[in-house]
Amino acid sequence: MKSINDRSQDIGPFVSQTDDAIIICRCEEITKGEIRQAIHDGMFTVNEIRRYLRAGMGLCQGQTCGKLVKNLIARELNVIPDQLDPATSRSPMRPVEMKVLGNEEVAHV
């Protein structure tokens, strides 16, 4: 874990790759190149990528791209994916309309 939190480590320059245009996060339409660039901008965790790019913040809540983003970070940082934490889990687990979320039944029986 130590190496991942060490922001001063040199991960080399961003070098573009032929498949950088591939979409990784479908819901928010974020490409592989954008995510790799963000890592080189200093976003070393899944949570940071989420906040920086919105990858994993769309309709499926990262169900599809969570693992893919994690693997991309691991590759750029040259660590194994298991060393990286997945994104924080928060309620609501599934996307929910605001009017429903606000419609809380507090005094049920």
């Binding site: 592989k32 298991d82 687990m93 809380e104 039944e105």
Partner: protein, 535 residues
């Protein structure tokens, strides 16, 4: 706020089994599931399950689901459908979305059995409509009766990829190829053989390089990969397809456990982020349990046992079951679970290359690379002296060559022709001392469709072969079609001399074909002639 002794999240095999055990101990139990139908993955699984009698072997998945639902109702379990658990908070409080309302519930124990989600891989064009998960394909076909496409390429040779490929063909799709980046088939050989003899070619050590099409999938390009899984230029192959199915693994949906504050671990062998649990599924938070795929990807058979274990443990936690009763009942379940964890596909064997069966026979490399047994394999496995001491006349031929936890073939034969023995992973043997009546129960009971009845003396110069057939329309007696080899190669004309279906066969039709006697050990499938041009 409504209160329960136990709330189970997820009405799949794990969740329902847990709820049933707990309710039978006298607990007030509620189960929430976000789907409109209960059963989790079970109602998509139209194939017969492996295992032993205690694991409900040879019963089709959806029937196991129906039994669980009936048992849950009888035990007084309240099942809430269209109920999505959106959050879990301190002191076992749950936030549940039901319709347009968010409701709060509280329980003294909670079991999370939320299952898993499908993994994806990326390649050029992977976001085109027509690229779908294998589980999604299964949902479309088996829950909603919708054909996912006409021509399909399957990526992934694990059991999910193999089973869904077969189901796609049952639904009337053409499966043009089965592709996997690994050098060997990952799932059971018997599942692979089932699709290989329908003529599906296997491309191991290959991957998808691109999905073609601008608005939807119109084709796919695959290429061979090197030892680092990088595509080798110049090895590309193209297929016209409208659907690409991805069966590249599952990841536990463990977010609720993480949200609850359980200690989590990243364990690639269990599929990803999973909670730390004891042998009964209790997490680092007392009274909070996890069962089924959410605590490690396995199968429905083991999910049901894990569910029951956590249900009993929850009951004991609240004092609905004495510690001694708990221990006694858990001991039996542990043995049942352990027997599923044996053999070549055991969790501990993952990633290992296995050279020989437990019996010391070299495994079939052809099965691992092409999906079918070759002639040399037949010598080792089928023509073993213990198999061929047959008298003349009809006799079973069993093409089950890997140590998998399965034995319904043994129970099926009341004549004692088939022996697996006490260790359910042992290869089935034929006891030639007992004579076969040709009743066909072994064929219909074999979850792997790996048993055939052969009679070399059917008529001068002709043999009869009885094989399992799970396609519609059922062939008719007298019909003339094509006999196919294990690799799906046409061998010549075959006449149907018998078609049998019976309640005891549970929807497997037994088709008997007449072929020249030299094809007795090569013909293994039948194709109606009308399909012959298309396939």
């Amino acid at each position: 706020m409504k209160r329960y002794d136990l709330i189970v999240v997820g009405a799949g095999p794990a969740g329902l089994s847990a709820a049933i055990e707990a309710a039978r101990c006298g607990m007030r139990v509620a189960v929430f599931d976000e789907n409109a139908k209960p059963g989790g993955q079970l109602f998509k699984q139209i194939h017969k399950f492996f295992g032993s009698k205690e694991h409900q072997a040879k019963i089709r998945g959806y029937k196991i689901g129906e039994t669980l639902l009936a048992e849950a109702a009888e035990a007084g379990v309240e099942v809430f459908l269209n109920a999505t658990v959106a959050g879990i908070y301190l002191d076992k409080e749950l936030l549940v979305q039901r319709g347009e309302v968010m409701e709060h519930f509280k329980a003294d124990t909670i079991i999370i059995a939320t299952g898993a989600a499908e993994n994806m891989v990326t390649f050029e064009g992977w976001t085109l409509p027509g690229v779908i998960g294998a589980g999604a394909a299964q949902t479309m076909m088996n829950l909603y009766g919708i054909k996912p496409g006409q021509k399909v390429l399957m990526l992934g040779s694990g059991n999910v990829g193999l089973v869904v490929s077969f189901q796609l063909m049952q639904a009337g799709c053409e499966v043009v190829a089965l592709v996997d980046a690994a050098p060997r088939v990952g799932g059971y050989g018997v599942h692979a053989a089932k699709i290989a003899r329908c003529g599906v070619p296997f491309y191991l050590a290959h991957t998808i390089t691109k999905a073609e099409g601008s608005n939807c999938v119109t084709g796919v390009e695959i290429a061979q990969v090197d030892d680092d899984f990088a595509p080798i230029p110049g090895t590309e192959k193209h297929f016209d397809v409208d659907t690409i199915c991805l069966a590249v693994g599952l990841s536990p949906m463990s977010q609720l456990l993480k949200m609850a504050g359980c200690n989590m671990v990243d364990d690639p062998r269990r599929g990803g982020q999973v909670p730390q649990v004891d042998e009964n599924g209790e997490t680092s938070i007392p009274g909070l349990f996890a069962a089924g795929d959410v605590s490690g990807i396995e199968e429905a058979s083991s999910a049901m046992i894990q569910g029951r274990m956590s249900g009993l443990a929850a009951a004991a936690y609240l004092g609905f079951l004495s510690e001694q009763d708990k221990d006694n009942r858990l001991a039996d379940l542990e043995i049942a679970l352990d027997s599923l964890h044996q053999g070549m596909f055991a969790p501990g064997s993952k990633g290992k290359t296995i050279a020989k069966t437990d019996e010391g026979i070299a495994v079939s490399q052809s099965l691992l690379k092409k999906g079918y047994l070759d002639d040399a394999d037949l010598e080792r496995f089928i023509n073993r002296s213990d198999q061929t001491d047959k008298k003349s006349g009809i006799h079973p031929v069993i093409e089950c060559t890997q140590n998998i936890p399965c034995n319904p073939c043994q129970d099926a034969c009341t004549r004692g022709c088939i022996k697996v023995g006490k260790t359910i992973t042992a290869l089935p043997r034929i006891d030639a001392a007992n004579s076969c009546t040709g009743c066909g129960m072994c064929i219909a009971s074999c979850s792997g469709q790996a048993i055939f009845l052969v009679d070399e003396d059917y008529a001068p110069g002709y043999a009869s072969i009885t094989l399992p057939y799970e396609f519609l329309p059922r062939p008719q007696k007298g019909e003339l079609g094509i006999a196919l080899s294990r690799s799906g190669r046409p061998l010549g004309y075959a006449e149907i001399i018998d078609v049998r279906s019976a309640k005891a066969y549970d929807q497997t039709t037994l088709v008997t074909i007449k072929v020249p006697v030299e094809q007795a050990m090569t013909a293994r499938f039948y194709q109606p002639e009308t399909n012959a041009a298309g396939q």
